[in-house]
C-alpha cells in the first residue's frame, strides 16, 4: 500500500507557487515534515473546514493553484463542502484526501470510508470536474501530473496504509501561520 508521508512528499515536490491548506492531524504533520513552506496553511482544529478554507482561498487567488490535503475523517465532517464546491466549480482548486480509513488521532477507530463510503463518488456526484480513488504508484504518478494542470475542481482519495507516521509538530501558533502565509503571498498588502 502507499505510505502517507511519501504520498504527500511526492504530490508536493513540484508544487511551484501553489497554495496548500492541510487538515488537522496527520495531514498537517506530514506536510510540515516533508514540504514545509510559508505558503502552507496548517489547520490544527476547526475539523471539517479544510476544503472550505481552500474554496475561499481559491476564489481570492484565481491565478494560483490551491491544493487542500486532508484526512478522511476531516473530509467526512465537512461532506457538504463538496456540494458547495460543486456549485462554485473553481478551476484552480484540488482536494486530496489521504485516506487511511481511520481516526488515527483518537485510537485508530474505523471511519466511514473503511465501511465502504466512496468519497470520490460523492465528489463526482457533486459536480467535480474529475474525482478518483488512487491506490497504486502508477495512479499516484498520474495524480501528481494532473494536480497542478488539469482544470478543477479536482478530487482524489488516496488510499494509504494504516500505519501512523511519526508525529512532527510544526508551528501551531495561529497568528504566526496566518501572517507568514499572507506576507509571503500578498507582500505589503498583507498589512493593509
Amino acid at each position: 500500500m502507499l505510505e502517507r508521508r511519501a504520498v504527500t512528499a511526492q504530490l508536493l515536490r513540484r508544487r511551484g507557487e501553489a497554495l496548500v491548506v492541510t487538515g488537522l492531524g496527520s495531514p498537517t504533520y506530514d506536510a510540515f515534515a516533508v514540504a514545509d513552506s510559508p505558503l502552507n496553511f496548517y489547520l490544527w482544529g476547526a475539523m471539517g473546514s479544510a476544503s472550505m478554507v481552500g474554496l475561499g482561498l481559491a476564489s481570492a487567488q484565481t491565478g494560483r493553484r490551491v491544493v487542500v490535503i486532508t484526512g478522511d475523517g476531516e473530509m467526512l465532517m465537512g461532506l457538504g463542502s463538496l456540494a458547495t464546491i460543486g456549485v462554485r466549480r473553481p478551476r484552480n482548486l484540488a482536494i486530496v484526501v489521504i485516506d487511511n480509513g481511520l481516526y488515527a488521532e483518537t485510537g485508530m477507530q474505523r471511519t466511514h470510508t473503511a465501511h465502504g463510503v466512496d468519497l470520490a463518488a460523492v465528489a463526482r456526484a457533486c459536480g467535480f470536474a474529475a474525482a478518483e480513488t488512487v491506490r497504486t504508484p502508477g495512479e499516484l504518478a498520474a495524480l501528481e501530473r494532473s494536480l497542478y494542470d488539469a482544470p478543477g475542481p479536482l478530487f482524489a482519495a488516496v488510499k494509504v496504509a494504516p500505519e501512523p507516521t511519526k508525529i512532527e509538530l510544526g508551528p501551531r501558533d495561529g497568528p504566526y501561520l496566518r501572517s507568514r502565509f499572507r506576507e509571503t503571498l500578498l507582500g505589503d498588502a498583507a498589512h493593509r
Binding site: 478554507v53 482561498l57 499572507r182
Partner: protein
Amino acid sequence: MTAPAWPDAIYDELLAAGVKQVAYVPDAGHRRLIELAQANAGLTTVVLTTEEEGIGLLAGAYLGGERGVLLMQSSGVGNCINALALPAECRIPLLMLVTMRGEWGEFNPWQVAMGQATAPALEAMGVIVLRADDAGEIVEAVRAGAGLAFDSGRMVAVLIGQRAIGAKVFRK
C-alpha cells in the same frame, strides 16, 4: 407593506468595506441582500449547505487577501461554534450578519432555544456581538461591525433583531 430600505443600505456598506465574498444560508430577512449580491458580477456569492462552511470559507478568503461576509439566520449560529476556533486562534477578521428568530413575537417554539442562545453562544467563542433592534440602527451597526472586524481584526456578529425585521407570521 413596502420593502424596507436597510438591505440596500447595508449592501452599500459592505461594498464600501471592500467585501468581495458573500456566503450565506438563506433567510427571509436576507433575501434582498442576497439578490443584490448575486446580481453583482464583482462579488463571489457562495450558497452553503451549513453555516459553519462560511467560517472556513471566509478564513480562506482572508488568507488570500479578500474580505467577506457571512449571512445567516440565528438558528445557524449553533452550527458555527467549533469552526470559530479558526478565526479565534488566528485572529482572522470575521463579519457575520445574523437575522434573529426565536425572540420578539416568535410563532415557532422550536426557534426559541437557539434564538435565545445566539448571543451567549457567540460571546462564549469570543465573537463581539452588536445588536440592532430598530430598523434605523441596522446600517450603523453593520458599518461599525465591519470596521471592528476588518480594521481591528476581530470576529463580529451583527444581530438584526426580530423586532427590527418584523416577526415572521405563520401563513395558515
